[in-house]
Amino acid sequence: MLSKSQARAFFLGGTVVTFLIFIGLTVYSFMPRNDQTNHASITKDVIRGKELWETNNCMGCHSIMGEGGYYAPELTKVVERKGEAYVKIVLQSKEPWGPRGRKMVAYGMNDADADAMVAYFNWISKIDLNGFDRVVSPLSKDKN
């Protein structure tokens, strides 16, 4: 029968081995030649967009690349689906946006911030999501 020290060896051994593989795969994922995100095209505007995304907790209702809340639409392909002008109107609205009943917080963003958000969405929409982009955003696919 298994002894306690064998059980401990199983625990320690398994942990160390899988952890090392995990680190290896992490390094592999971030090697420039495996980049699926057009990392080089992250502009100042995209970064500003990400900052706005975080400081307003947009993810508390929406999801992006499938991560976030389930209360409001997925935004990975929102610009393709709705167009830049529409997205900017929503962000700049001073009244809670909610044409179908469910309300969004009224952010009343200025023009520069709204542009930054759009830049961020545009960058996101070009990421290679291993096929998820076609499932999550059928409308944009159908349109193209």
Binding site: A7, T18, Q36, E54, C61, R100, L129
Partner: protein
């Protein structure tokens, strides 16, 4: 209780009860918003309610784990905590940091990264607080007369949990890199190191409640936490399928996360088997129910419902839908909420010296909470499957589909009410037990 300093655990548990109750309030805010009753939108918009709901959850669970450690470590080490005063300082500062973060969420002060919404400035205070906590626990262990496997596994879980908080504090320009390391915190917590904490608490409870030999229990504890890390570390890959990183994670994440339920299955078999094998029949039946319950419900919520959407072929469709919310609720409930309620139910009579072991309210609380949560899980699940089908198969518009799922949120609110009555009874019993006192000191519980 055997050591005076264990009393500090009581106050952690009391804070736990308060935070838990508040968590439910915000759950209802979201539930009602989802059926169109969003009258609070201007004051508590959905994203605020969500951040408060999930952060309170994490906070009360961590508070419970800390209370558990302050209760278990002295007993396992056969000595008092090195400083009771500092433990109270730690408790109060934890409460203050927590409250500051939660209040901030109501004023658009946060970092919108799911589950890690606490702003960076407060993160540093969290780190200081946790270091103080770990200092007290490690100091006590260092001076201990004995260091049991149970106490080591529990402490290892707590130390790793603290270390893993750090990758979540780094700023990245890329949303993809940000998500990648966010999962180092979120996934490696719940499907890694928190299982060590759960395993440690479970093993302590089984030793006390069943009277099975410590050596046997602790041997299996190693096997369980071994399975946890073996599957859970590489299982992180199930969050990397569709967020813009290499396809290799589809294979690695798929295989290893599919093995994750084994650790939970082992935990359930372990608990049930030790219970059967045990000769001792401890009178604290309520603690026994929560303990065995946690091991079984965690297998269903985390193991089975996790497995249900963990293969890349399935996750492609369910990723980021209410199916995830279904699993999130039942997994957190079974594994972590129930184990915290188990250790509280076990410790409370010992801390206060009042042995109302087999009271009716306690049993009723257990059943109402569990029936309510099961119902909520089904409601989320049905809404989730409908969402997946209509939105991702039939390609219907988001809000059109959401309107179709409204009725399931009415059911959710009804079940949540049953659940809340159960938790209300639990808290009522907690209060009725009264305060901890030195007269409760005994040689053997």
């Amino acid at each position: 209780m055997k050591y005076k300093s264990q009393k500090v655990a009581y106050w952690f548990f009391a804070l736990c009860m308060l935070l838990f109750a508040l968590q439910l309030v915000y759950g209802f805010v979201m539930g009602f918003a989802r059926i169109g009753m969003d009258g609070l939108h201007e004051v508590v918009p959905f994203n605020t309610a969500r951040a408060v709901h999930t952060n309170l959850l994490v906070l009360w669970l961590l508070t419970g784990f800390m209370g558990a450690a302050y209760y278990i470590i002295p007993e396992e080490s056969k000595r008092e905590l090195i400083s009771v005063k500092l433990a109270y300082v730690q408790l109060i500062s934890l409460a203050l940091v927590g409250v500051a973060a939660l209040v901030g969420f109501h004023f658009n002060i946060w970092e919108g990264r799911k589950f890690l919404e606490i702003p960076r400035e407060l993160d540093y205070l969290v780190v200081v607080n946790v270091l103080l906590f770990l200092g007290l626990i490690l100091g006590t262990l260092y001076k201990a007369k004995q260091r049991t496997t149970t106490s080591l596994v529990l402490t290892m879980g707590l130390v790793f949990a603290a270390l893993l908080y750090l990758p979540g504090m780094i700023w990245f320009d890329s949303q993809v890199t940000d998500s990648f390391f966010r999962w180092w915190v979120v996934h490696l917590w719940v499907e890694g190191v928190w299982e060590l904490i759960m395993g440690g608490i479970l093993s302590f409870l089984l030793i006390k409640l069943t009277g099975v030999d410590r050596e046997v229990i602790e041997k299996w504890l190693y096997v369980i936490v071994g399975l946890t890390f073996l599957s859970g570390i590489l299982g992180t890959g199930h969050h990397y399928y569709y967020i813009g990183v290499n396809k290799i994670w589809l294979i690695v994440g798929g295989i290893f996360s599919a093995l994750e339920p084994l650790a939970f299955l082992a935990m359930a078999l372990f608990a049930v088997y030790m219970y059967r094998k045990g000769e001792k029949s401890h009178p604290n039946k309520i603690a026994l129910f929560w303990t065995i319950g946690a091991s079984i419900v965690s297998f269903v919520g985390a193991g089975l419902l996790g497995f249900a959407h963990t293969l890349p072929q399935t996750n492609l469709y369910t990723h980021g839908t209410l199916v995830t919310a279904m699993h999130g609720h039942y997994a957190f409930w079974g594994a972590y909420a129930m184990i915290v309620l188990a250790i509280i139910s076990y410790a409370l009579p010992n801390l206060t010296g009042r042995k109302h072991y087999d009271n009716k309210n306690g049993h009723l609380a257990f059943w109402l909470a569990n029936i309510g949560m099961l119902g909520m899980t089904v409601a989320f699940g049905v809404a989730g499957v409908i969402q997946v089908y209509m939105e991702r198969r039939l390609k219907m518009e988001f809000m059109e589909v959401q309107n179709e799922t409204k009725v399931h949120f009415v059911v959710l609110i009804l079940c949540a009410t049953i659940f809340t009555i159960g938790i209300g009874l639990y808290i009522y019993e907690f209060i009725k037990y009264g305060r901890p006192n030195d007269e409760a000191l005994v040689k053997e519980d």
